[in-house]
């Protein structure tokens, strides 16, 4: 099986200029040749005229919902959504049912994923049952294949348990992912606390709920030496805390989602539950800080927090509807539209670094995030100029709860090649 992509510009390949039109030959799933012209005949030929070939995207934060919530998403539909959006690897969060707190759940997920040409990294839990009371068997989780642990969806409230968890993960060299939200401060909140929540009469989640939680975890990471990763940073205060901690040498990394980089709490004016996300959409000043954080390296990468929910759940009234938006199928286009086209803040190479190379490094998966001869072909072919409107029927995900529905985006993933297989969704 061979694939030849012709006339394509390549980004994210060491030593290759983005300006050259090249041919990329993939043989038996391996990148066999990158050259001005390739004489070999391929079974499948793809014209890359006007397009860019980039390393397949890597997401550190996705919810595939299996086991337990297969009506929202499964390993298979989640992987298809990912491939549709240019992703070749995802770390899936452990708030499943049962939670991914033991080896058998990890194995079950990995077995399902093994049937799809896609890379799935299950994230284990920090505590048993994600209850924040006892440590999960993290050494066994690691042996089963976990590279990170998180009680995602919940903050580990108990500071002593957190201390012990961080000491334990630093011994195992696992990544500790923190869902930084002080539950007492965010209690009953459904959106950002501020002018808009006052105007809409909705209960607020204050910035301090994130800031306080980040501050404690940074302190504990400094003491324990754990590799701490702050999930879905949303506030200016968290950005400055992380920036200061990095300067001090704390082993901290952070991610931000496309929706937190793009929307403010003003998006909630019509009580549209697709904008009900946790952490909530914040204010313009926060977005500004998040962007600055991305540019100066305080924030390491962009992650989707792809959180599928059924339409009937999102159709409940605002307070009862669950938090979350899907993201895998819109992330690349949304980031490109906002930060490349509109604000000209990021280059395509920056986007590749933030959405592929850096998350791959944090996963300890150096085989992703670059294009070079001799490695497995995990790449995406993208059209930077394609203008399109996000519609419900676009999604491969089993759920359609996207806050990008109705948005006009510029740039789209044309196809994804994962483990050498071409994925093109029409």
């Amino acid at each position: 099986m061979s694939i030849l992509i012709k006339n394509v510009k390549v980004v994210g390949s060491p030593g290759i200029s983005e300006k050259d039109k090249l041919s990329v030959l993939i043989e038996n799933g391996i990148i066999a040749e990158i050259a001005k012209s390739v004489s070999a005949k391929a079974k499948e030929s793809i014209d890359g005229e006007g397009l860019f070939l980039i390393p397949g995207l890597v997401d550190l934060h996705a919810h595939f919902r299996e086991p337990g919530f297969e009506n929202k998403e499964t390993v298979e539909t989640g992987a298809h959504a990912a491939l549709h959006g240019g992703y070749v690897a995802c770390m899936t969060m452990p708030n499943t049912n049962p939670p991914c707190d033991n080896a058998s759940v990890v194995q079950n997920i990995l077995e399902k994923a093994s049937k799809i040409p896609f890379y799935l990294f299950p994230c284990g839990t920090i505590s048993k049952q994600r209850e924040g009371k006892e440590l999960a068997e993290m050494a066994e989780l690691k042996r089963a294949g976990c590279r990170a642990v998180s009680d995602d969806g919940d903050y580990v409230e108990d500071a002593l348990l957190t201390r012990h968890a961080m000491e334990y993960v630093s011994m195992l060299d696992l990544l500790y992912i923190s869902h930084a939200e002080d539950r007492a401060l965010s209690r009953n909140g459904v959106m950002n606390e501020g002018k808009v929540s006052t105007r809409l009469g909705l209960r607020g989640i204050p910035n301090m709920a994130e800031a306080v939680a980040v501050a404690r975890d940074l302190t504990l990471a400094e003491f324990t030496g754990a590799r701490l990763h702050i999930a879905h940073v949303s506030t200016r205060e968290a950005v400055s805390l992380i920036r200061a901690a990095k300067r001090k040498g704390v082993k901290v990394t952070a991610e931000v989602t496309p929706h937190h980089l793009i929307f403010t709490d003003e998006a909630l004016t019509a009580y549209d539950t697709n904008f009900k996300v946790n952490p909530p959409l914040r204010q313009e000043e926060d977005i500004k800080s998040l962007r600055e954080g991305l540019l100066d390296g305080t924030i390491d990468c962009i992650a989707t927090d792809h959180a599928p929910h059924r339409e009937e759940e999102k159709d409940l009234d605002f307070e009862e509807a669950p938090f979350g938006t899907t993201g895998l199928e819109t992330a690349f286009s949304a980031v490109l539209t906002e930060l490349y086209h509109k604000r000209k803040a990021l280059s395509l190479a920056d986007i590749v670094r933030l959405m592929s190379r850096r998350p791959a490094e944090l996963l300890g998966a150096a085989e992703f995030g670059l294009i070079k001869k001799g490695i497995e072909a995990n790449v995406a072919l993208v059209d930077l100029a394609k203008e399109w409107t996000v519609k419900k029927d676009y999604f491969q995900s089993r759920s359609k709860n996207s806050c990008f529905i109705g948005q006009n985006l510029k740039g789209q993933v044309v196809l994804t090649i994962s483990k050498g297989k071409v994925w093109k969704f029409v």
Partner: protein, 313 residues
């Protein structure tokens, strides 16, 4: 008072946030005409004959529900009330859209809706042909209460523009305060909110009101004072130390009222916590217009139903 020439065109009454000054005045002027009907021996006009109104109360309510039911009956509408709580099957699990479609399928003309969740009527209004009257959504708005408050102020003071109106108590959880703030500021009143800092919404100043934590300053010079109910549960949620301390610090007593204008009016949307937000002798005293508010409520609701029903024909 001038009679506005505005015509009512909106399908729903969701909140005073969305209304213009002219629309608010139109409702208040219309309500004036309806006051008299409730004083007749035969308290009925045929304005809504043949129209069906469903009262969907998904949060416990006595006063507002009864007031709406009377308003509907006095307009000769066919009405029925569905009461439930947020824990009933209707609120839990059934989507708003399904709920809406079921009601719509029965060819209802107007739905009066109270819901525990802010924004619920706004979302329902988008799915539905029938007009929606918001009878209180979460902590967001309670437009007919604010309208009857403004009606009462206007009745007593002959105007609203330039008046000083203070709200004292739990502003954070008060949909009555929010609706009043939208309405009164649009009509040119100077609004002050007062309460413990823990019970004032963030950035409330952005709605164009003055904030004070000193109850005496809220009283001084006020033409009208509305007290808001303090719920005991809020003490358990650490919003304030005790009802005792609340009364001492923010409660309205006769002594405190000495600072007020001599023609101040005291209002309360009910139900009153006697001895907490206001003393007995204030609630029943000469400044109190609390029962006038209740009386006016029926007329204001008649006006709202009448205007919405007219916009439909």
């Amino acid at each position: 008072m001038t009679t506005t020439k505005t015509k009512w065109t909106k399908k729903d009454l969701l909140g005073l946030k969305d209304l213009s000054r002219e629309e608010i005045l139109l409702i208040l002027d219309t309500a004036k005409g309806f006051c008299e009907i409730s004083k007749r021996p035969i308290k009925k006009v045929p304005a809504l004959r043949g129209r069906t109104v469903v009262n969907l109360f998904l949060e416990p309510s006595t006063r507002t529900r009864v007031s709406f039911e009377l308003a509907e009956k006095r307009l000769s509408a066919d009405n029925l009330t569905f009461s439930g709580t947020s824990s009933s099957s209707l609120a839990k699990g059934e989507t708003l859209k399904d709920m809406a479609r079921n009601i719509e399928a029965m060819n209802v003309d107007l739905i009066v809706m109270r819901h525990t969740s802010s924004g619920a009527p706004h979302r329902l209004a988008r799915y539905l042909r029938p007009g929606i009257v918001n009878a209180g959504d979460g902590i967001n708005e309670h437009p007919t209460q604010a309208l009857l408050d403004m009606f009462t102020i206007r009745e007593k003071k002959k105007k609203i523009e330039g008046l000083k109106v203070s709200f004292i108590g739990d502003i954070l959880h008060s949909r009555v305060a929010r609706s009043n703030i939208w309405g009164l500021t649009k009509l040119g009143a100077e609004v002050t909110v007062c309460g413990p800092k823990t019970l004032l919404p963030v950035d409330i100043e952005s709605l164009g009101v003055r904030v004070t934590y000193d109850v005496d300053r809220a009283i001084e010079g006020a033409d009208a004072i509305t007290l808001l109910r303090i719920q005991l549960e809020r003490q358990k949620e650490s919003f304030f130390p005790s009802l005792r301390e609340y009364m001492q610090t923010f409660g309205i007593t006769r002594e405190r009222l000495e600072r007020a204008k001599r023609d101040v009016i005291i209002m309360h949307p009910g139900p009153i916590n006697r001895g907490v937000e206001l003393a007995d002798d204030v609630a029943d005293g000469e400044y109190s217009v609390i029962l006038d508010q209740v009386t006016n409520g029926v007329a204001v609701r008649m006006a709202v139903l009448y205007l919405l029903s007219g916009a439909r024909s």
